[in-house]
Point group: C2
Chain length 328, copies 2
DNA sequence: CTGAAAGCGCTTACAG
DNA sequence: CTGAAAGCGCTTACAG
């Protein structure tokens, strides 16, 4: 089925059919004839041909750091629900935490005119990233990181971790922290800083701080290190639920009880946090909603040519569970 | 940058440039000139125009039931690694466990000529699915389910669960099973049947069998039901690790110890299985490898026009951990 | 309100 | 080995 066949069957020119499909500047009578033929034949216009002619792909590129991650999964679910409803298709690019691959995808997307817009789930934002953002001739929205001059949807990492620390370390004598590399500004730098500041407010200057990766193993090994070097530790605040799950596993093996001997907290409110024993005190982040928000921003920029940069900081919710005791 | 500009700069016709880019039937001298110009300009051919002309998109559609799932994540990681290396792009379609959406995506992909091939991560395969498979004019590979007459990569669910049951229920007096809906042939029907057969071999006819969904909550509620109605139960075999995690959570709340009072097993060897307390005895499935395998099959069909249907059954590995005691 | 015509960027017989 | 020409399926000024 092509537009020519439809035109012939409806007894009009293909220009008229095209107009019917687009601006709709067609007489009622012909509209009816065309509508009927399209309904009968089930004709669907070729997106490729449209793209070639108009330069619009109706694709949105979504660059993600990792595919098998609950966090990313929730964010992408939010994104696709909005994009699908607005008739955009999602082109997923997985970088497996490779910063260079990230920049390469961003470049490829725009140089090859493959997409009308881009959403980047950010982790480490380098100068190379910033340079590409400037070159980009399609709208971009960054998720999870605050980037100056670029539309973004991110989380209140500082305050979330500050609250979490107060909740985990209050009444304790030796709080410690397990975070991730500082190059990740949101999950690394900000959360660590928030812990240090909150610990200071509780009277703990120079607390133990370790840094690892975003996974269970990191929690296991660093908790081992901390308890070996600082056996007096009685509270371990973690940058993520996964790390916290690893910490609990290690403490259990060392014969220490949570929360009696050591308080533990995570962040993210993943499924993990609810399943491990003891259940983790954590912060709930609205991952799916942040995806919805980011996609809405992008669609608006796409449809209305509204290029105004906007920044949205998402709220959060403290979730108290078994890994900390409420009575200090 | 278009092919015309390259042709002009190299002093040849655009047909020659095109040949250089494709079959390569070009004199050495012109090859050099064209190569140089392309290198200098960074020219990349428009995939849209190529598609319009050749009918090939270099897209592969991947239909998945759920985005935030570790299993699906691992499978997709395997798929994209192969596809990317073969210069195919992945178009992900998420159905959120909606069978109709699944069929609709399959149809849309082929009717609209959006993709050169399709990989479906199967759950419930209906007659509507089978009908679409027949209509499809592009190669398809189904993952996770065995479908007659269609290329597929699936798991040995029956034997995996049979072994798991022997391992969990041997020496026990009252084994029970928590599975999922039978309409999922692999994860529902086959695993349940394997449990029943293995239980029978151990001398337990008519054991307790419950059915729920693929999640932690199902494990929690059905374990509650089983222990209420059959307090003598001393082994619970589960269709997935998530369900098993829920079961352990419930048993803990009921004051029952795992494995002393009740043995528990999951299936899949997810991260969850290693993190919960006690760690779960389970079966390791090679999810990522199955994705690699499926993508290889598809690429071969695409490149060599090799339409021969192939079926690959993946092996598995029993993983013994704390939730069952090895001494029967 | 409508149709003829040009053109988006490519590939591929065809004739040489 | 190479170029002129046609055409993939659409959209959009343009003239009417």
């Amino acid at each position: 089925m092509t537009i020519n066949e439809i035109a012939q069957l409806a007894g009009v020119s293909r220009a008229t059919v095209s107009r019917y499909l687009n601006d709709g500047y067609v007489s009622e009578e012909k509209k009816k004839r065309i509508a009927k033929v399209i309904a009968q034949t089930g004709y669907v216009p070729s997106q490729q041909a449209r793209t070639l002619r108009t330069g619009k792909t109706r694709f949105v590129g979504v660059v993600i750091p990792k595919i098998s991650s609950e966090t990313v999964g929730r964010e992408v679910a939010g994104i696709t629900s909005v994009l699908g409803a607005s008739d955009y298709r999602t082109l997923l690019a997985n970088t497996d935490n490779d910063e260079n691959a990230e920049v390469a995808y961003l470049k490829a997307f725009h140089e090859q005119g493959q997409v009308d817009g881009i959403i980047l789930i950010g982790t480490v934002v380098t100068d190379a990233h910033r340079r590409v953002f400037e070159e980009l001739n399609v709208p971009v929205v960054v998720m999870g990181q605050h980037v100056e001059g670029v539309s973004c949807v991110y989380f209140d990492d500082y305050n979330a971790m500050y609250d979490l620390t107060l909740c985990c370390a209050t009444g304790r004598t030796h709080p410690a922290y397990i975070g991730v590399y500082e190059r990740d500004f949101a999950a690394g730098h900000l959360r660590t800083q928030a812990f240090i500041d909150a610990a200071a407010q509780l009277g703990h200057t120079d607390p133990v701080v370790e840094r690892g990766l975003f996974n269970v193993e990191s929690g296991v090994s660093l908790a081992g290190k901390i308890m070996r070097e600082h056996p007096e530790t009685d509270a371990i605040v973690c940058a993520t639920d996964e790390i916290a799950a690893g910490v609990c596993k290690q403490l259990d093996q060392l014969g220490l009880r949570v929360p009696e001997d050591v308080h533990v907290t995570g962040l993210g409110d993943s499924m993990l946090a609810q399943v491990v024993k003891p259940q983790l005190t954590t912060v709930h982040y609205y991952y799916r909603t942040s995806g919805v928000e980011a996609a809405r921003m992008l669609v608006e920029a796409l449809e209305q040519g509204n290029a105004a940069v906007r920044e949205t900081k998402m709220g959060y919710k403290l979730v108290l569970r078994e890994s900390t005791s409420s009575d200090a």
